[in-house]
């Protein structure tokens, strides 16, 4: 589903105003100002792309939904990490009980070289927004 009108609008909105590079522009239709910069940032951090306008809308709805939390008065309330916060961490003895299973581990890897897992070259960061072919940039 490539509903791209929003995309075109986004890019149009970014380019229309030429006052300074890299200025954040709010995404329309959302009370929370989710800027294109933030969307791009999220895609890089999560290595998951929005794919289409639905994806962006989904995020906006999610944020809107979450905003209801601010109706609750939490003054003086401590955050709760887990219901086990009053329990203490189990300590294990320093014995070697695992490992030595190279074959089993490599069995599930699609690509391997000898006994290594293998990845493409380096950690070359994904191209910047202008160079990408993802939804946020497409037309």
């Amino acid at each position: 589903m490539r509903a791209l009108s929003l995309g075109r609008w986004l890019r149009g909105a970014v380019r229309a105003r030429s006052d300074g590079p890299g200025r954040a522009r709010p995404v329309p239709g959302s009370p929370q100002k989710v800027t294109v910069d933030v969307l791009d940032h999220l895609e890089h951090l999560a290595l998951v792309d929005f794919r289409d306008s639905e994806g962006v809308e989904r995020l906006q709805k999610a944020i809107q939904f979450a905003d209801q939390l601010h109706e609750v008065n939490t003054d003086g309330v401590e955050p709760m990490d887990s219901v086990l916060e009053d329990r203490c961490l189990y300590l294990r003895e320093d014995d070697v009980t695992e490992g030595n299973c190279t074959k089993e581990l490599l069995k599930n890897a699609r690509e391997k070289v000898e006994e290594y897992f293998v990845a493409p070259p380096g950690n070359i960061p994904l191209p910047k927004l202008e160079e990408q072919e993802t939804y946020l940039q497409s037309s």
């Binding site: 961490l89 003895e93 695992e98 490992g99 990845a119 070259p121």
Partner: protein
């Protein structure tokens, strides 16, 4: 470095010193030294001086059998992916289980660094993607680490002669437990990266040192002291060459009285020497950049040891947000002391801070103080003894076997033995001269059977490692001191007779010239005369 050329290999424009002598000082040493009127990094003609600020993040691999959260082995240079558990490989559904030994190591280290140990500490996830981080996050302690607010005292020499030592202190912000990552080996020729997870999950203690240091020398000295402490405790082997101790340096510069400058982080430093170089280079680079009107980017740089300079790291471009989140699979880590220990608790589940404190071995600073007290050596001597692996044991062993006073023995250890070892890049263990040999030699000297010149000669022979004892060499080379007093008297007389001018000078009151006569007697006897005795004889003849 000329501003226009980005690169290294030029002569530094300014040489600045830090840490001018005196007592312990906290905070920027440059400020302290300028207060004393000593040299602070001077700017270009007329510009305000610069205050360099250096903080360190040190990762020390914990010495344990198994990893921090899994039961796979901690083993250096094992065959690829052979000491990796399902959890280390981040197989879905696997969970972390903490290793008690790692907790104890962190507590030991915290106590040794005068930290407050947090009886309740928490674990967090730090997220980023990298080939050697299978889970996409590292488990660390960001909110409440296991130890905080400590101090580390270290010393450095203010000159090359090791004659003036200054004690400094650096604050320890915190110590946290965290996982090490795997290793990626970049194979550019085949356009691939090989990933070995053997190291993934090994326990690390990250020691954060506040920016109380001001130059490479201080940084290196602080790290060296930490290394000694860790090795003494046994909590980490801390061998930098094996990656068991890694240092990241945070460097910035500012003018006195102004706020701190933008800092850069220098990573990939795997030796003390490189640490000092990298820090000093970076300080200089920043000063030059700023003086030329440029700005410093808050970036991560790597140290290129071949070129001797820091370069920006490509891999870490782009905004980073680690999205810290509490680690939900690890309830709080609870530590006890004797007071808080509940009655009916399973002792296998207890880490008792007081017990660990009681069992702490003597730290390097204590060991040094004891050496100074016990043997009457100087503090700087004790530093050198501890700094060299095995040297203290060697020294003490020699002292035990010889009548020579330790104060004198130390000279032989530091000036002769150590310089020889350094020249030939040998460790104490590899020394061809062992402690009993040296002791025998020093005994000969002490008993006045040989002169000190002769002793040095014998030592030279012993280095050859031909298996001869000192006594054998003395006999072989005929280095015994002349014991016959009459014969010696005759030789003295002969020298006196041959140096009329010098004799006159001596009789006139210039006693220094006596040394020349002593030297001549030495030569005549081929070094086999006791200079003290010779002096006595000459004085008797000339001054009575």
């Amino acid at each position: 470095m000329v501003a226009a050329v980005r690169g290294c290999g030029g002569v530094w424009r300014r040489v600045w010193q830090c840490g001018a002598g005196g007592s312990a000082s906290l905070g920027q040493c440059a400020a302290a030294s300028s207060a004393r009127g000593a040299v602070a990094p001077a700017g270009k003609s007329g510009l305000a001086p610069w205050v360099p600020v250096v903080g360190l993040e040190i990762h020390a691999q914990i010495s344990s059998n198994s990893k921090l959260f899994s039961g796979s082995q901690v083993q250096f240079a094992a065959p690829p992916n052979s000491v990796v558990s399902f959890f280390d490989a981040s197989l879905p559904g696997t969970l972390p289980v903490i290793n008690r030994r790692c907790v104890e190591a962190a507590v030991m280290t915290g106590l040794a660094l005068n930290c407050s140990i947090n009886k309740r500490s928490l674990f967090d996830r730090k997220h980023y993607f990298y080939a050697d981080l299978p889970a996409g996050y590292q488990i660390t302690q960001q909110r409440v680490p296991i130890a905080v607010n400590g101090t580390l005292s270290y010393s450095l020499c203010t000159d090359h002669k090791m004659s003036q030592m200054v004690t400094k202190t650096v604050r320890i912000k915190q110590i946290q437990l965290e996982q090490d990552s795997g290793k990626s080996l970049h194979d550019d020729s085949r356009s691939q990266t090989l990933v070995d997870l053997n190291r993934a999950g090994v326990g690390l203690m990250e020691v954060v040192m506040e920016p109380d240091m001001c130059c490479g020398k201080e940084a290196a000295a602080a790290v060296r002291e930490l290394q000694l402490i860790l090795q003494t405790l046994g909590s980490s082997h801390a061998v930098m060459a094996e990656g068991q101790l890694r240092v990241d340096a945070n460097v910035s510069v500012h003018h006195p009285g102004e706020p701190y400058g933008v800092r850069t982080e220098v990573k990939n430093i795997n030796s003390l020497r490189f640490l000092a170089k990298a820090v000093d280079y970076e300080i200089q680079r920043q000063i030059e950049e700023l003086e030329n009107g440029g700005t410093i980017l808050n970036e991560t740089r790597a140290f290129d040891s071949k070129l001797g300079c820091t370069v920006p790291m490509r891999d870490k471009e782009g905004k980073q947000d680690y999205r810290f989140m509490p680690e939900p699979n690890l309830p709080p880590l609870i530590l006890y002391d004797t007071k808080s220990l509940p009655a009916n608790i399973n002792h296998q589940q207890v880490v008792n801070i007081d017990r660990i404190h009681e069992r702490l071995p003597d730290l390097p600073s204590v060991k040094r103080a004891k050496l100074v007290e016990q043997y009457g050596i100087l503090p700087e001597h004790s530093f050198t003894l501890l700094n060299e692996d095995g040297l203290t044991e060697f020294f003490e062993s020699v002292v035990k076997r010889t009548q020579m006073k330790p104060k004198k023995v130390i000279g032989w250890i530091l000036n002769d033995l150590l310089s020889y070892l350094n020249q030939h890049s040998l460790t104490v263990k590899e020394s061809p001269v062992n402690s009993s040999m040296l002791a025998d030699l020093l005994n000969l000297l002490e008993k006045k059977e040989i002169s000190s010149t002769a002793a040095k000669q014998v030592l030279g022979e012993l280095w050859k490692g031909e298996g001869k004892t000192p006594l054998e060499i003395v006999k072989e080379k005929k280095l015994e001191l002349i014991q016959d007093q009459e014969a010696l008297e005759q030789i003295c007389q002969a020298v006196i007779d041959g140096q009329k001018n010098e004799v006159m000078a001596i009789k006139a009151g210039n006693h220094k010239v006596l040394n020349k006569l002593i030297g001549l007697v030495q030569r005549k006897t081929q070094g086999r005369s006791n200079p003290v005795l010779v002096k006595q004889l000459l004085e008797k003849k000339l001054l009575d």
